[in-house]
Point group: C2
Chain length 407, copies 2
Amino acid sequence: MSLIVQKFGGTSVADTDRIRAVAEHVVRTRRQGNEVVVVVSAMGKSTDDLLRLANDLHEEPPPRELDMLLTAGERISMSLLCIAISRLGEPSASFTGSQAGILTDTSHGKARILEVRADRLRESLAGGQIVVVAGFQGVSTTRDITTLGRGGSDTTAVALAAALKADVCEIYTDVAGVYTADPRVVPAARKLHAVSYEEMLEMAATGGRVLALRSVEFARNHGVALHVRSSFTWEPGTWVTEEEATMEQAIISAVTHDTSEAKVTITRVPDKPGIAARLFRALADANVNVDMIVQNVSTGGTTDISFTVPKSDLPASQGVTEALAHEIGAEAVTHDDGIARLSLVGAGMKSHPGVAARMFEVLADEGLNIEMISTSSIRISCVVRADQVERGVQALHATFDLDAAPV
Amino acid sequence: MSLIVQKFGGTSVADTDRIRAVAEHVVRTRRQGNEVVVVVSAMGKSTDDLLRLANDLHEEPPPRELDMLLTAGERISMSLLCIAISRLGEPSASFTGSQAGILTDTSHGKARILEVRADRLRESLAGGQIVVVAGFQGVSTTRDITTLGRGGSDTTAVALAAALKADVCEIYTDVAGVYTADPRVVPAARKLHAVSYEEMLEMAATGGRVLALRSVEFARNHGVALHVRSSFTWEPGTWVTEEEATMEQAIISAVTHDTSEAKVTITRVPDKPGIAARLFRALADANVNVDMIVQNVSTGGTTDISFTVPKSDLPASQGVTEALAHEIGAEAVTHDDGIARLSLVGAGMKSHPGVAARMFEVLADEGLNIEMISTSSIRISCVVRADQVERGVQALHATFDLDAAPV
């Protein structure tokens, strides 16, 4: 008997017809002899509806109360799912984050899970019930209701899978799995059978929207096997697991891109120790989420520093950067929100030199100018013009043989 | 400094405009130097909407899951109210029934409150916060979420007022208070300044729909002063308190009526000990809620037994009654759903003989035939034809001087 955690996102439980379909799948899994723990998000856009009510009353609702409000969404979807499961004749029970023992810190709106005390879920499973848990929520050390922030339901599912030592954590979503590129940009993109945690992390960080970074990190740290698949076709999707040394690696697994960031550049920064530290400390204190950072070699005692931030953080980062530029005697601060980030991700890259050179050649052949470069051992990212990025994705996808049959 | 519990029903928090108005009233009460505990119902018809979703999935949803589902409604209204209060600059905190320490038995859908462990609310009040609590819900001895059934939010408010030793429990509703008769039937009906618990209980039991019987019983048993008032005009309403011996009592406080019941009669029942007990035990076992019972004097060794039940219980009670009639050799079972119950309620009745006689004369003058009679020390009820009941209410209201100025 396997223990399977199944997580269903908002579109998978958007209405009673979809909930019925999910219930059938859950019951089928149970009747195949598995123990099943289900994690659900709020129905469709219901969280947005609640948020709209809150903002109608207050531009900045108190975070404790906002969390109390938003957690009503999963309460509704999870109890409706149990009702649908009951209709099919299987016993089940729903549990809030608090009842499921998901203990968090006190950071409302973006709480971190401290511990999972899953005794109650174990009892329920032992009693033969299908367990249904509200995603995205927990209870803090001060007994207040908290939410886990973006991708919170995925994190709930992975945390429960880790705590219960589940055999697999299935993430059901509205896409069929993880693709070699965004299929809207590359029609020939194909679904990957498996990727490693590291590849998935790099993909999540560079524009692959299927899984939240945080839940993949959690899965890697606790060795939870993830299976990303569709709640519309129910077909097998993409496995995210430990990289197997014996497995022949594809050099490149995917081409990702991201147009959600902007670039800030400070020119002619005096090249002295501690300057970069002051800049990025000031940005961190202003809650700006800095992504890529590139510093050029020093010429004539000064250097240029460029970094990318989410477009929504651009006003804050400009303010901080301009104040500091003045203080340290830098020349100027410029910003650019017409950029895109283009990345190649692949665990096989480690043992295949020359991937970066090939990537730059392809982009040059396509007439794309590279404005920034950053790399990790299994990823190469280039910042290019946003209006040229799709051309770059298509060319790279073809060049690195990603249109071929699955490995 | 007074401690005031304020309860707001669904129509009082039906949308964000109404929630804002409630927040303003709560904040005003707080700024007048009072400690305030607020109990809210779910917004408008949102509980019905949730119920509809549940019934779309299952004709008989499992009670535990239905309670989990329905409690989402108060979670939404209470957090929105705190958000609106915060906008007005006052600190507040919302608490679920479970967080508020409302411990119930395990009867899902109609749980009874066993105990209120209000330590957390006391801490919140001591910290200067306005406390907002979800009505209608609690947590059971087996740590499952329960709901209290019809009138549940009133019961929550009264239970908290008792536990916190509040000075008053204000029940805000869409009517201005308790009236001498239904104003839709008697335009000259007037709002009562005060009624005793006993009168309120009799009125609630005989058609006065303002307060649920159960919450009035709870208030009487714990000596909680109730103040029923309007959340639209915010004017003083009707006080429900202990009867004061020194107070000059009105003989009659109100005329109530109720058309929601039907009558069942068994004719020529053998007049032997134990027959009535068998009948009403069988009805109780079938969950039929019997109201009035009348047994005629025995003639020729048989008697007739009539009783009233909610119209919704009529099919069940006919089944039970016909089976038993056959068994015990009674003649026949008839039923009648064209009846209404007409009642006079007044604590002064105890010391004024002749009220019943005067009532019967008035009804006779109006040409109303009396089909059943039952009395308590402060109430007289007659069953009459449903299509004549409004005429009876109007005549009695005029005869007993209820159109006069408030006492």
